[in-house]
């Protein structure tokens, strides 16, 4: 019997085709082609069935002992879901949506807080998963790209070629406006990317719906125009003119002349704060709240003429570049700069900060282009551009455009790997005066001496916009709705800090202070640990020796904490002392000169 069974088993094993391993059965290479496994299920079943029926015929006597897995005929088949649970989401997708709020190891006695934290973490995990899944499956558009043939540089491909190669609507986005009379031009795209605002140096201001090429208004302010900027919606824009700051509406009617803001050179609009930040020739950085029309703050930077400016879109901090090579970071709440960085030898010519608020790109008179990490304020890359870049712009997807004279170059991925060649290049007529990537479009607007050029840069724009934030296709009604909502959740200027997430974190410092005050008021520490009192055990189990032993156990634990703390403290002081010693030695060794002997000892 046993031998027969063994034999049959052997034949069975030999005949049976091994079912290919599925990704849910554990790790393996199968994970890679998981989309194929669905098709495999159907394909595999047939041969397996065949082999098993054959086996049944050959060993019909042992039918009863067989397990039901092979019997397909009469008995009901227990079907296992080949894709149990929800579809897996790749980790890197989830990482994109992760909030850095992991709190691990709360003390055990804080039961209630632990429960709250646990539930909120579970909830945030669910959102993270859902958002990642949405991101993976439901986004409509893919980003653009441009790839050359073999040994063809993408930077040699001309705009005309690209415009010819792509579809008509996309090709129509490449156009030139010949405005040689009032140039050079500065420009600004509205937040949704539908409207374009042009400001000629000699007073020509025009705004147009650039996709339909519909002119909304065109005026000449008969004065020098230093900068133009859309305000929160396409209904209003600000123009920095020779003397004062003016606000016009989209039909060109002057709404306000703000005399408090004089000699403005550059402007930035902070859309979530409704603040218009202006940098003036007199060295003042001023903030205008456009929702109430009040000046929020005026900061004297004491750094001379301010004509290099950009904002960090993640924390609304204003970056200013100065002629001595420093870049300073400003918030309206502080009279001093938040940060001063020395970036260049020679003046800073242009600045740009990327959408994630991680990288800052600067170009200087020293003809260098540098990339900084502005979370740690450390330099990443440094490039040498023979002509130097006069203006910089960063797109949503991280393409950098740099204008050197009358050539616009676009670089890809400047922060991670040292870039050798530009991604694209284009020559315009006249020196470039303004550069701006159009949000949510593969378009770079270039304002120059001879007018305006709309350049095609495949892969520049974020393909999927968020309809509740800025929707290029919104109707008038939707815009009104959005405007009300946006005004309701206008962030107060006091909340502009380097880390905007700070508001959601635990404020330990204030707690400490309040706790100290409380201790002072009460005369004792209400949170202090009580001294361990051993529980009285009955029936003679609480002998004096036993009590002492229990006390000692705990005392030992208490002591351990104290000892650890003191040891740590000691080690730190020791380290500090050593460092000081070393420093002293170094300074003594390096800087000691022959004339030092005449110095007074106290003066050191």
């Amino acid at each position: 019997m046993a031998s027969a069974e063994e034999a049959s088993k052997r034949t069975h094993v030999e005949k049976k085709k091994k079912v290919s391993e599925r990704y849910w059965q554990g790790s393996g290479e199968e994970n890679k082609d998981e989309h194929r496994s669905g098709a495999d299920v159907l394909g595999d079943q047939q041969p397996q069935q065949g082999s098993q029926t054959k086996h049944q015929i050959s060993s019909s006597t042992k039918k009863k002992k067989r397990k039901p897995e092979g019997s397909h005929g009469m008995k009901a088949v227990t079907r296992v879901d080949p894709f149990p649970g929800s579809a897996p989401v790749p980790e890197e997708k989830r990482l994109k949506f992760r909030r850095k709020m992991k709190i691990d190891q709360l003390p055990h006695h804080l039961t209630k807080i632990r429960r709250v934290v646990a539930s909120s973490q579970a909830a945030s995990e669910i959102t993270e998963n859902e958002s990642a899944r949405y991101d993976q499956l439901l986004l409509l558009e893919d980003a653009g790209y441009l790839e050359g043939d073999e040994d063809e540089d993408t930077c040699t491909i001309s705009q005309e070629d690209i415009a010819d190669a792509v579809d008509i609507t996309a090709g129509a986005k490449y156009f030139n406006l010949n405005l040689s009379q009032f140039g050079p031009y500065r420009l600004d795209y509205s937040k949704t990317g539908r409207q374009l605002l042009l400001g000629g140096k000699r007073g020509h201001v025009a705004c147009l719906d650039w996709q339909t090429k519909q002119l909304m208004c065109e005026i000449n302010v008969m004065e020098t125009v230093n900068d133009v900027k859309w305000l929160h919606s396409e209904a209003m824009y600000a123009v920095a003119q020779k003397k004062w700051l003016y606000i016009y509406d989209s039909s060109g009617i002057e709404l306000h002349c703000i005399r408090k803001f004089n000699d403005v050179l550059r402007m930035q609009f902070l859309p979530y704060h409704f603040l218009l930040a202006t940098a003036s020739a007199t060295g003042f950085l001023q903030y205008l709240d456009v929702s109430v029309g009040k000046e929020v703050a005026a900061v004297g930077t004491k750094a001379g003429r301010l004509d290099v400016m950009c904002q960090n879109p993640q924390n609304a901090v204003i970056h200013l570049g100065h002629s001595n090579g420093t870049v300073t970071l400003w918030s309206p709440n502080q009279k001093e700069a938040l940060v001063k960085m020395l970036c260049h030898q020679g003046g800073v010519r242009s600045l740009a900060v990327d959408k994630t608020g991680t990288y800052m790109v600067t170009s200087g008179m020293d003809k260098k282009l540098k990339v900084f990490d502005i979370r740690t304020f450390k330099p990443f890359q440094s490039y040498f551009l023979p002509a130097g870049a006069s203006s910089l712009a960063l797109s949503h997807r991280g393409l950098l455009s740099a204008a050197t004279g009358d050539i616009v170059q676009v670089y890809r991925d400047v922060w991670n790997t040292p870039v050798k060649k530009p991604y694209m290049a284009h020559k315009v007529h006249g020196a470039v005066w303004g550069l701006h990537f159009c949000p949510f479009e593969d378009v770079l607007g270039v304002g120059h001496g001879d007018g305006f050029t709309s350049m095609l840069v495949p892969g520049a724009g974020e393909p999927n916009f968020d309809g509740l934030d800025s929707n290029p296709y919104r109707s008038a009604k939707q815009r009104q709705e959005w405007e009300v909502k946006a005004l309701l959740e206008k962030i107060q200027p006091e909340l502009i800090t380097l880390d905007p997430g700070k508001l959601g974190q635990v404020d330990y410092a204030t707690f400490e202070q309040r706790h100290q005050d409380k201790v002072k008021a009460l005369g004792y520490d209400p949170l202090a640990k009580d001294k361990f009192k051993p529980r009285l055990r009955k029936k003679g189990r609480s002998s004096t020796g036993g009590v002492e032993r229990r006390k000692n156990q705990v005392a030992h634990e208490d002591q351990r904490e104290v000892i650890m703390a003191t040891l740590k403290e000691k080690a730190e002081t020791e380290k500090e002392r050593e460092q000081k010693k070393n420093n002293n030695k170094e300074t003594a060794a390096v800087k000691r000169s022959a004339l030092d002997r005449f110095k007074k000892r106290n003066a050191q």
């Binding site: 994109k96 949506f97 949405y134 991101d135 790209y145 579809d167 996309a170 924390n315 309809g467 296709y473």
Partner: protein, 445 residues
């Protein structure tokens, strides 16, 4: 050359006809939605402000009594019915939806001391200063027929409190003794006393239905088991408790309203110290009633206000008062957890919302979502000083405001004195007593 440019088809982003709703494509990328926390904070701040703006808790005043309202009873099966008894012996039955009195009975001579609706909702009991217990039918008699009680029991002494068993035909009264009555008999089936002259209130436990608790005039709270002949145990406090109420969900907790301006929540199994001391009233607390969810309770006080406390917090989350409301004698939380009823000395019964800013009536789906979202935001940012300040602010009548201030001064002085005493005595000689430990004198079993 391979090239692809972004080229969106507007049909994917614009609605087809004007009868459709607008399309809103989303992208949850955090970099496209910056300032997450500050924006949420602003929303939370707005929500908190709106809540305060919309906080209009007072709904209606039911007038009709010709003397102070002394007791109230919820109907056990009908949400819209409320019974109230006045100091002139009059009992009124109210329809809350119509804000209307539907029936008036001259039930007793002197005060109506207590009322309770039988668990089936077909009849109710009332007790009065005339030493009688009367059972009334819930149905009004026909036109021209005189109001007659179904049953009248003449007791030996004055009754002060009354409660009915949850399932059986037994009820309990208190006065000089705590008596357990069978509905069919005219003498009590059991009588408890523990060396006390009088009791002010008695309440059955809603879950362990044979248990009951009473407040006695010797500052104690006594627990009984109906099946035993002697009381279980009692806790003696520094001041007398007026009434108590069991938590309907965690029925081992009960809260008592004390004369020393505080309320105490006790764990029945562990009476050595209260679980929580609720302090905010500035005068004696006269009545307390739990919400049916067991998470909050409402208290009525002699200081002309009612307060709502979450069960585990020390301070109230809400205070209701009006210019005309005098000493509030009785208070009830409605069985649908939405309303609070208070009866006061100036002959009125007032109907309040349990949640002051809640919108009444049917909510649309979006309204519900918005309300839930705002609620969550308020919770999330409740500890931020600006939010907290707005959420906590309540306008108080002048007498309450000044008295509360006075009490803080007094408390501070007492604390200072204690601290000084401790400083000048042997270490450990003056023990550090927490607020919870201060008010319990003894537990007797």
């Amino acid at each position: 050359m391979k090239v692809k440019m972004l080229s969106r088809n507007p049909d994917d982003y614009v609605r087809e006809t004007k009868y459709d709703i607008q399309r809103v494509p989303r992208n949850y990328d955090p970099t496209l939605n910056p300032f997450e926390v500050p924006r949420e904070y602003t929303r939370a701040l707005n929500a908190t402000k709106l809540e305060r703006v919309l906080a209009k808790p007072f709904l209606a005043s039911l007038d009709g009594h010709r003397d102070a309202v002394n007791c109230m009873a919820k109907h056990s099966t009908s949400l819209s019915t409320l019974l109230s008894g006045a100091c002139d012996g009059e009992v009124k039955v109210w329809n809350l939806t119509k804000h209307d009195c539907v029936r008036t009975i001259q039930a007793h001579e002197g005060f109506v001391r207590g009322m309770v609706v039988r668990f089936c909702g077909t009849s109710f009991f009332s007790i009065g200063d005339d030493k009688t217990i009367k059972q009334w039918s819930m149905e009004a008699p026909g036109y021209g027929v005189e109001e007659e009680p179904i049953n009248t029991i003449l007791g030996k002494t004055v009754f002060t409190g009354l409660d009915h068993h949850q399932k059986d035909g037994t009820f309990a009264t208190c006065g000089q003794y705590v008596d357990i009555w069978d509905e069919q008999r005219s003498t009590p089936i059991r009588s408890f006393s523990w060396g006390v002259e009088s009791f002010s209130s008695v309440r059955f436990n809603p879950v362990e239905t044979e248990l009951l608790a009473s407040c006695a005039s010797d500052r104690s709270i006594v627990l009984y088991d109906m099946r035993e002949s002697t009381p279980l145990k009692k806790v003696i406090m520094t001041m007398r408790s007026n009434t108590l109420s069991w938590n309907p969900m965690e029925a081992f907790y009960f809260t008592c309203a004390n004369e020393d301006y505080n309320l105490y929540t006790y764990d029945m199994r562990y009476l050595e110290k209260p679980v929580t001391v609720h302090m905010d009233h500035v005068s004696a607390v006269l009545d307390v009633d739990y919400a049916p969810t067991g998470r909050e309770f409402v208290s009525a006080s002699f200081d002309k206000s009612i307060r709502i406390f979450p069960k585990e917090t020390r301070h109230s989350r809400e205070v209701y008062h009006t210019k005309r409301m005098q000493h509030v004698v009785c208070v009830k939380w409605s069985a649908d957890n939405k309303y609070v009823m208070s009866g006061s000395d100036e002959m009125n019964i007032r109907l309040w919302k349990a949640n002051a800013a809640q919108k009444l009536g049917v909510l649309s789906h979006r309204e519900k979502l918005a309300a839930n979202y705002n609620q969550k935001l308020k919770e999330k940012f409740q500890h931020h000083p600006k939010v907290k300040r707005i959420a906590r602010h309540r306008h108080l009548p002048k007498h309450i405001y000044t008295e509360a201030k006075e009490h803080t001064v007094m408390r501070e002085a007492r604390r200072r004195k204690e601290r000084n005493v401790r400083k000048h005595s042997k270490p450990g000689a003056v023990p550090m007593l927490s607020e919870r430990e201060k008010h319990v004198v003894a537990v007797v079993k």
